[in-house]
């Protein structure tokens, strides 16, 4: 119920943003960021409610993961208004809101059963909580970078392209260390404690590594190609597509140690 209200708020925010996108005045509307904030807080309450019910941090299923992703993305959409480079930009919050709505729409689909289930022994670990939460928070920044990279690619105005490049780079530069710590380091520590092996080329591990390699390539490529190359934002777009495949595709298509995720 709480998630449904949050979904409604994000949809309303999306409608308001669409209206403002077609208006000539510059700047973002004053309502949609607050709707995003309200949706984020509601989703946070839902995560806390579920966590109390299972007496563990509710981050062990597909539904909870999607709620978590949408929650932090909604909170980041609100925070974007305080970012120097993204302030006043109407398209990036709009794109990010679409992604948050997609996450919540998927959460309400049969692919993500919403039953509250306490975790099996392998998932009862503080390292798992760090692994999953850091990975998703990193991916939330990658989502903003993804929207910005698309705008960077399609924009014909050189000044706008540079501005989008800066937003893209900032998003990835914040998301990358969080993702590295969460997906690779904390994940490996958890795997060692749970299974006695810190790396096993499990499909999820392999795809998380591919995501990391792609963003690492972006950060290095940007050093040598600067902001004029179209390949630079293309890597960010590819990186986010791979990150989403790692999250959804691997769960449904490839079996491995993470098949309960």
């Amino acid at each position: 119920m709480i998630a449904t209200i949050a979904f409604g708020l994000l949809l309303l925010s999306l409608v308001i943003q669409i209206v403002f996108l077609f208006r000539k005045e510059s700047g973002q509307d004053g309502i949609s960021p607050w709707l995003s904030l309200a949706a984020g807080i509601l989703l946070l309450i839902e995560i806390v409610r579920r966590s109390i019910a299972i007496r563990f941090v509710a981050l062990t299923g597909m539904f909870e993961s999607l709620i978590f992703l949408a929650c932090f993305l909604a909170l980041l959409i609100f925070a974007l208004r305080y970012f120097k480079s993204a302030k006043g930009n109407r398209v990036i919050p709009f794109g990010a809101t679409i992604i948050a709505v997609i996450f919540l729409a998927l959460a309400s689909s049969p692919l993500a059963p919403s039953d509250i289930k306490p975790p099996v022994p392998a998932l009862q670990s503080g390292w798992l909580v760090l692994h999953v939460s850091f990975t998703f928070i990193g991916e939330v920044f990658f989502a903003v970078g993804f929207v910005s990279a698309i705008l960077q690619l399609v924009s014909k105005d050189e000044e706008k392209r540079r501005s989008y490049d800066r937003i893209t780079y900032t998003s990835i530069a914040i998301g990358y260390p969080i993702f590295t710590a969460g997906a690779l380091i904390f994940g490996a520590i958890w795997a060692e404690k749970a299974w006695g092996v810190w790396w096993s080329w499990d499909p999820k591990e392999t795809w998380a590594l591919i995501t990391w390699l792609t963003y690492t390539a972006y950060l290095h490529f940007r050093l040598v190609r600067k902001s004029t190359s179209k390949l630079v934002p293309a890597l960010v777009i590819i990186g986010f597509v791979i990150a989403m495949f790692t999250f959804f595709g691997v769960n449904f298509l490839l079996k491995g140690l993470h098949s309960y995720a």
Binding site: I174, A181, V197, W207, A217, H220, V224
Partner: protein, 409 residues
């Protein structure tokens, strides 16, 4: 000559080379993530088109992560990273202290140590799986003896596992193992080659009793060079190793092993991998004494022995299952078991249902014995890997945290 080495040095430390190698590594990983790994050649010929299967097999994409090409690219990447780190570090040291930025250095050195740890892990890691019932013991290569004192299994109301927990006693200086005597005629020795008469098998927890500790089951090794881990019974043959009397369990230090909470011993870690039940047949003799046999174990008689071979699977009930201990025996009560009987040198295979006579015994039914699945791991690379993790985390945060300063309005 100097010009050549300068060119080589510059090429090896180049960021462009790093980008190319990162993309190549990502492409290899994508191939390894999409193409099923480690299957027989016939699998790829069957599931991929003619050209596709030929490419997979020619480029060793059926085992990407151990293929020559992948290892070659990884090696060049390691060289690139090392040269780049050296170059960067020396440059940073020539800068004034306040202008130095060591975040990328931490990150790169961490990755180098991580790669070294990874190589060490792949070369030296050993993993051995053991199944222990309560009272069973196992001797680690370092000499320490591990006795399973207790095991607990909890499940949620919906049947999913909630926790697996083993309590083990560690005897760090057990007496040396006494080789089992060669028994020319097992019947004459009067010893039994199976688990022997205990009114309650769950009380079977004394290290000092050869009989009590003679039921450790199959040991399988995942690593080619895994050191030998000996259990008190050679599974399938039921030959006890007759350990000499040692410290009583109550006086040994006891530890709990749970999933996500391994036991760290000197050079080894023991992980709780699973929990399951294993069926044992219960035989009763004329005196009312009970004998518990797992598959492959036998009980001697005056003129031969009775060996429990297997459950009769043709009736549809499996032999071992992850199950609720309390609920399982009733479900299995009607299933037949297959025995090998030896009487005065003549051997016959018989199928018997609970309640039937088998030689001098009565087959009184089954008991589900809980079994703790443990993995004993030795990984000399992990300390390096852990050190690499710390440096990588430090490196990425020091490098990119500065970005936060410039983004807020």
């Amino acid at each position: 000559m100097k010009a050549f080495f300068d060119k080589l040095y510059n090429a090896l430390r180049s960021v462009k080379l790093a980008v190319v190698l990162l993309v190549l590594l990502a492409l290899f990983a994508i191939a390894g993530g999409i193409i099923p790994q480690g299957k027989a050649a016939s699998y790829y010929i069957e599931h991929f088109s003619g050209a596709g299967s030929r490419i997979i097999l020619a480029l060793a994409l059926d085992h990407v992560f151990s293929s020559f090409l992948f290892l070659l690219v990884s090696a060049i990447f390691a060289i690139n990273l090392t040269v780049c780190t050296f170059h960067r570090l020396t440059n940073e040291f020539f800068k004034p202290r306040e202008k130095r930025r060591h975040g990328p250095d931490f990150l790169h050195i961490g990755l180098i140590i991580l790669l070294f740890g990874g190589i060490l892990t792949s070369r030296s890691r050993t993993e051995t799986f053991i199944n222990l019932r309560k009272g069973d013991s196992v001797r680690l290569p370092g000499g320490a003896k591990v006795v399973l004192v207790d095991l607990k299994y909890e499940q949620y109301p919906d049947g999913r596992p909630k926790s697996w927990e083993s309590t083990v006693a560690i005897d760090k200086n057990p007496p040396p193992e006494v080789p089992a005597p060669v028994l020319a005629h097992e019947e004459e020795s009067g010893d039994t080659l199976g688990t022997t008469g205990f009114a309650d098998p769950t009380l079977n927890n004394s290290l000092s009793s050869a009989k009590a500790s003679s039921s450790a089951s199959a040991v399988s090794s995942a690593a080619p060079a895994a050191p030998a881990i000996s259990t008190d019974t050679e599974a399938g043959h039921g030959l006890p190793s007759s350990p000499a009397p040692s410290t009583p369990i109550a006086e040994l230090p006891q530890y709990r092993i749970r999933v996500n909470t391994p036991l760290r011993l000197k050079g080894y870690s023991i992980y709780q991998q699973n929990w399951h039940t294993e069926k044992q047949v219960v035989l009763r003799d004329a005196m009312g004494m009970q004998f518990f046999l797992e598959p492959g174990m036998r009980e001697t008689t005056k003129d031969g022995f009775v060996l429990f071979m297997a459950l009769d699977t043709s009736q549809g009930t499996g032999g071992a299952a992850v199950a609720n201990v309390a609920a399982a025996p009733a479900a299995a009560a009607v299933q037949s078991a297959i025995f090998l009987l030896e009487q005065n040198g003549a051997r016959t295979v018989v199928k018997a249902a609970p309640g039937e006579k088998i030689n001098s015994f009565t087959f009184s039914g089954y008991i589900d014995q809980p079994v703790s699945g443990l993995a004993v791991v030795s990984d000399k690379g992990y300390p390096f890997v852990a050190a690499g993790f710390i440096l990588v985390i430090l490196g990425v945060f020091i490098t990119y945290i500065r970005k936060l300063k410039g983004i807020l309005a």
